[in-house]
Symmetry: C2
Subunit: 223 residues, 2 copies
C-alpha cells in the first residue's frame, strides 16, 4: 500500500508501510551484492585479460543482469518512508546503499552540531592521476551540505547556490567531510563544509539552502 | 615502455608508446563489457528477485570479478598519452570510457568556441525522487568546465573556485552541458557553463581556473 506525495517540482516521495525491521533485513541481504558489483566496476577499469575472456565475461554479466531484471522496479528507486520515521533512498547517487555508483557516503549527525561524512574513494572516482576527481568531491559536498541544512530531515531545503574553493589535491582513498549551519535567516540556511584527506583540507565549500515557502513551519519568520 | 612525469602535487601522467589504432581497438573491445556492467549497476538498484537468487547472483558476480582480476593494473587507471597526441584516461569519474561509474560524459569542442557535453543520467544518478542528484550535475559541470579552461588540452589548468546556482529541477534522462571561456587574465581563466534538461537550464555555473606558474608558456604574461 503506497501513498504518493508530490512536492513542488519534485517527483514522488512514497509512503510505504514496510516495517523498519524488514527494511533493515532487505538492506543486509543486498549489501553483499552491491559490494560485489562495486568490485566488478573497479576491476572492469583495471583488467588486462585477453580479448576472448573479455567477451566471455561480458556475456555472463549480461546474463546476470537478465536474471536480476526478471523481477525489478520499473524506473528509479525514489525516496520512501514508513510511519516509524524510517526512510530509504537506495538509489541515491551519494548515499544509496543499493547503488554501486555511490561510494557510498556514510553520514552522522553529531551532538556538537557538526554533520560528518566518510567515504572510500577508489579507482572509479579518479580525476587527475591518483587523485579524487574534483567533481566527485563536489558530489559528496553537495549531498552532505543538503543533509546539514535539513537538520536531520526536520526541515525541507533546496540547494540555492554552492561555492567551492579548491585548496589542495585529494589522493584517492578515505576522505572525510564535515558541515555545519553557520546561520539561518528566514528561509535561507547558510552552510559551510569541507572535504579532507590524510594531508588535511582539500576543498572548502559554502552553500545557501532555501526552505520552500510551503514548508515553513508555524513560528518561523519567512523573509 | 613507459615514462613517468610527475607534476606539481599530482600523480603521474604516463607516456606510453601504444599506437593510437591499438588504443582505439582496446576501447572498442571493452565498450560492451563496460555497457554490460552499467546495466548490472542499474538493475542492482531496482531488482526484487528473491533472497536465494540474490545470493546466487552475488556469488557469480564475485567469480567474474576474480576472472577479470587475474591480470589487471595495480591501482587506478591514471592518465596516459602517446607521441601521436592521443591521450586516454579510462578510469576518469566523468568521462572514463572504461569506468561504469562515469555516465560517461561525451565532450565536443565546437568551432563556435563552446565546449558541449551530453550524458544519459539514469537510475544510478538519482537525488530527489525522479531527479538528477545536484551533486551529479556538479560532477559533470566541474569536468566540462575544466576541459573548457584547458582549451582542447593546450594549457594546463587547476580548478580555483566553482560556483553553482541551482535554478530548476533536472529530471533523470538526457542532459546537455555547454561551457565557454568568458575571459583570461594572466594565469586566471574565467569559465561559465550550464546544464540543461528538456525543460531548459537547471544549473548555471561559474569557475575560476588557474594556469600553474610552471606551465606558463613563452609570450604569456603571468600576473
Amino acid at each position: 500500500m503506497t501513498r504518493h506525495a508530490t512536492l513542488d517540482g519534485l517527483g514522488a516521495f512514497v509512503h510505504e508501510e514496510i516495517p523498519t525491521a524488514e527494511i533493515d533485513r532487505l538492506e543486509e541481504l543486498h549489501a553483499p551484492l552491491v559490494a560485489a558489483v562495486r568490485d566488478l566496476v573497479d576491476v572492469t577499469i583495471r583488467t588486462r585479460v585477453d580479448e576472448a575472456e573479455v567477451r566471455r565475461v561480458t556475456a555472463e554479466v549480461e546474463a546476470l543482469t537478465g536474471r536480476l531484471g526478471l523481477d525489478a522496479l520499473d524506473g528509479a528507486a525514489g525516496v520512501h518512508y514508513n510511519s516509524e520515521g524510517r526512510s530509504w533512498n537506495w538509489g541515491n547517487a551519494a548515499v544509496g546503499v543499493r547503488n554501486p555508483v555511490a561510494p557510498p557516503l556514510t553520514i552522522s549527525h553529531d551532538d556538537d552540531g557538526v554533520t560528518r561524512g566518510v567515504a572510500r574513494l577508489g579507482t572509479p572516482y579518479e580525476g587527475p592521476p591518483g587523485l579524487v576527481h574534483g567533481g566527485a568531491s563536489a558530489l559528496l559536498l553537495d549531498h552532505l551540505m543538503g543533509e546539514t541544512a535539513s537538520m536531520r530531515h526536520s526541515q525541507v531545503t533546496f540547494t540555492g547556490t554552492l561555492t567551492m574553493r579548491y585548496l589542495a589535491p585529494l589522493p584517492l582513498g578515505e576522505v572525510r567531510l564535515a558541515g555545519r549551519i553557520e546561520r539561518q535567516e528566514g528561509r535561507k540556511v547558510l552552510v559551510t563544509a569541507e572535504i579532507s584527506g590524510p594531508a588535511g583540507r582539500a576543498i572548502e565549500a559554502e552553500g545557501v539552502f532555501i526552505v520552500p515557502r510551503w514548508a515553513v513551519r508555524d513560528g518561523a519568520e519567512p523573509t
